[in-house]
């Protein structure tokens, strides 16, 4: 199963490092990363494979959200199917 992690907010040092460290710790494999910085607004999108994750989905989502909260960023972790169903016919 794959999930999409999005991080939105003000750009700062160490965002990618912290999010990927948490993923590694939970055996979540990062498949792709795209990021863009428009003026000060930072948007990072990570496609991850969570099939070998050692923690439950909501636990992973909560812990990443907490990392985001500490840095003043919004983090969402969502099943990839939601995007496929909304944007593909």
């Amino acid at each position: 199963m794959r999930a999409v992690i999005t991080v939105l907010g003000k750009d700062m040092v160490g965002i990618l490092a912290k999010v990927s460290a948490r993923c590694a710790e939970a055996h979540v494999n990062v498949l792709e990363v795209t990021q863009s910085v428009l003026q000060d607004l930072f948007a990072m999108i990570m496609m991850v494979d969570i099939s070998k994750s050692t923690v439950a989905f909501d636990e992973l989502a909560d812990s990443l959200k907490k990392i985001g909260d500490n840095m003043g960023l919004k983090v969402h972790v969502m099943h990839e199917d939601i995007f496929h169903s909304m944007h593909r016919i």
Binding site: M78, F83, S85
Partner: protein, 452 residues
């Protein structure tokens, strides 16, 4: 990889535009709980609901977390209780209301619908007993919702039921006067009631439905408003296109949630209800969509046309996104639950007459409208008859959910709190329809009913 723009669009819809799944509603047939002993029947009702809906709330919450989509309400709709009450030898069906309330609390849903009767052609024993018990049932329970179908395109309008419901609505408001007359906010009078509607207060599980089913109601007025706002000065054809595209996306999300809920609960998927259901939250308003199209205020001349376009485009966009569409499917216009409608009613831009016209082109009808406390039962019946006539002739669902604000006058307000919102008391035409209502009988089914 999924397009990043699409991902960010979805996130923005959820974070800033109130995108959500409004309700997952489990429909449960209670017809196998019928028993001549009302206590036994009520116990069977409680047991069956608790057994079937035990995991409903948890499953909804799990899906919500995994897909990142807020699922606001988890609810239950049951067979019209009048069908069970008929077997109980004239005993008051109130015990069923207690059983429904207790079961709703036990499984953790926020409303349970189906304290209902279908009397569009006449009353059976159970129907009359149930309707008479509605005021007490809604006063003595917290989660129970009630509905009565008094007319249909096929059957005409049961004017005896219309007269009775005017009295029942008043009595329900009187018995809950200490709680802002909230009882009447949980009572809907329908014409052409759908059997698979997932939205409260009018949800019930029709007799043609399977033993158990999952129906999902989507929402998203905020998303549609934002999409229309981005379009700026395009023509009205383009507005319709934008609404269709947005509705498609919203509905696809609902379809995914419905299929997932159905799979996890091992219950068949019934329908998606393609509705734009507002909430009192600022930005989650159907009225604001109409204003975004170019009206100074909801209620201005042009409102009915704008709403007709909106309602139609929502259906056209949504219908391709779902395998089964049903329920009410259209834009809702509940005054007290829509920040834009509340504002328009306060300023006088939106009147009861305009709302009545709007109900001819949108989903449902006169919904969540607070009327003066001294409005007579006859006048309420007149409102119901007019609304039912619009539904009957146009082969569509219409409904009346008005709340007489006992002890208050036009200009004052009632505040129900939560999703039911708050609303200013709207002026009502005080000329009496008493003699017309008092005649009783049935308005014959219109020519439109003869389609065979």
């Amino acid at each position: 990889m999924i397009n990043s723009r699409d991902i960010l669009e979805t996130i923005n819809m959820i974070d800033n535009e109130h995108l959500d799944v409004r309700t997952i509603t489990m429909g449960i047939s209670l017809l196998d709980c019928i028993d001549a002993n009302i206590q036994t029947a009520a116990a069977k009702v409680y047991d069956k609901i608790c057994r079937y809906a035990r995991d409903l709330v948890k499953t909804g919450d799990d899906i919500s977390k995994e897909y990142g989509i807020p699922i606001i309400n988890k609810r239950i709709a049951v067979s019209p209780i009048a069908m069970l009450a008929g077997a109980c030898n004239g005993k008051s069906p109130i015990y069923f209301a207690y059983a429904l309330d207790k079961a709703a609390e036990e499984v953790g849903v926020n409303f349970i619908g189906g304290y209902s009767a279908l009397v569009h052609k006449g009353f059976s024993t159970g129907d009359y007993a149930l309707i008479s018990s509605i005021p007490q049932a809604l006063a003595e329970t917290d989660f129970v919702c009630s509905s009565v179908n008094i007319g249909s395109t096929k059957a005409g309008i049961n004017m005896d039921a219309v007269a009775k419901m005017g009295k029942v609505i008043r009595e329900t408001a009187e018995l809950t006067v200490q709680r802002d007359c909230i009882g009447a906010a949980k009572l809907v009078v329908f014409c052409n009631a759908p059997e698979d509607n997932p939205f409260m207060a009018g949800a019930f599980h029709g007799p043609g439905e399977p033993d158990c089913v999952i129906n999902v109601g989507v929402s998203g007025p905020g998303v549609v408003r934002a999409a229309v706002a981005k379009a700026q000065d395009c023509d009205i054809t383009e507005i319709a296109n934008i609404v269709k595209k947005t509705s498609f996306k919203i509905t696809r999300m609902g379809q995914l949630v419905a299929q997932e809920a159905s799979r996890r609960l091992c219950v068949p998927f019934g329908i998606i209800d393609l509705s734009l259901a507002p909430t009192p939250a600022v930005g989650d308003s159907v009225a604001y969509i109409l204003e975004e199209m170019g009206l100074e205020s909801c209620g201005a001349h042009g409102t009915t046309a704008a709403l007709a376009l909106l309602n139609d485009a929502v259906k056209k966009g949504g219908v391709m996104a779902s395998s089964h569409v049903g329920g009410l499917s259209g834009a809702f216009i509940p005054v007290s639950e829509d920040a834009g409608m509340i504002h328009a009613a306060r300023t006088g831009a939106l009147t009861l007459n305009k709302l009545e016209a709007m109900t001819a082109v949108c989903s449902v009808g006169l919904d969540m409208i607070v009327i003066p406390g001294d409005t007579s039962a006859d006048i309420i019946s007149g409102i119901i008859a007019d609304e039912a006539a619009i539904g009957m002739v146009n082969s569509k669902t219409t409904a009346v959910r008005v709340i007489p604000a006992i002890g208050k006058r036009a200009g004052e307000e009632l505040d129900f709190g939560g999703l039911l919102g708050k609303g200013p008391i709207m002026k009502v035409n005080r000329h009496s329809p008493g003699k017309f209502i008092g005649r009783g009988g049935r308005i014959p089914a219109p020519l439109q009913s003869l389609k065979n």
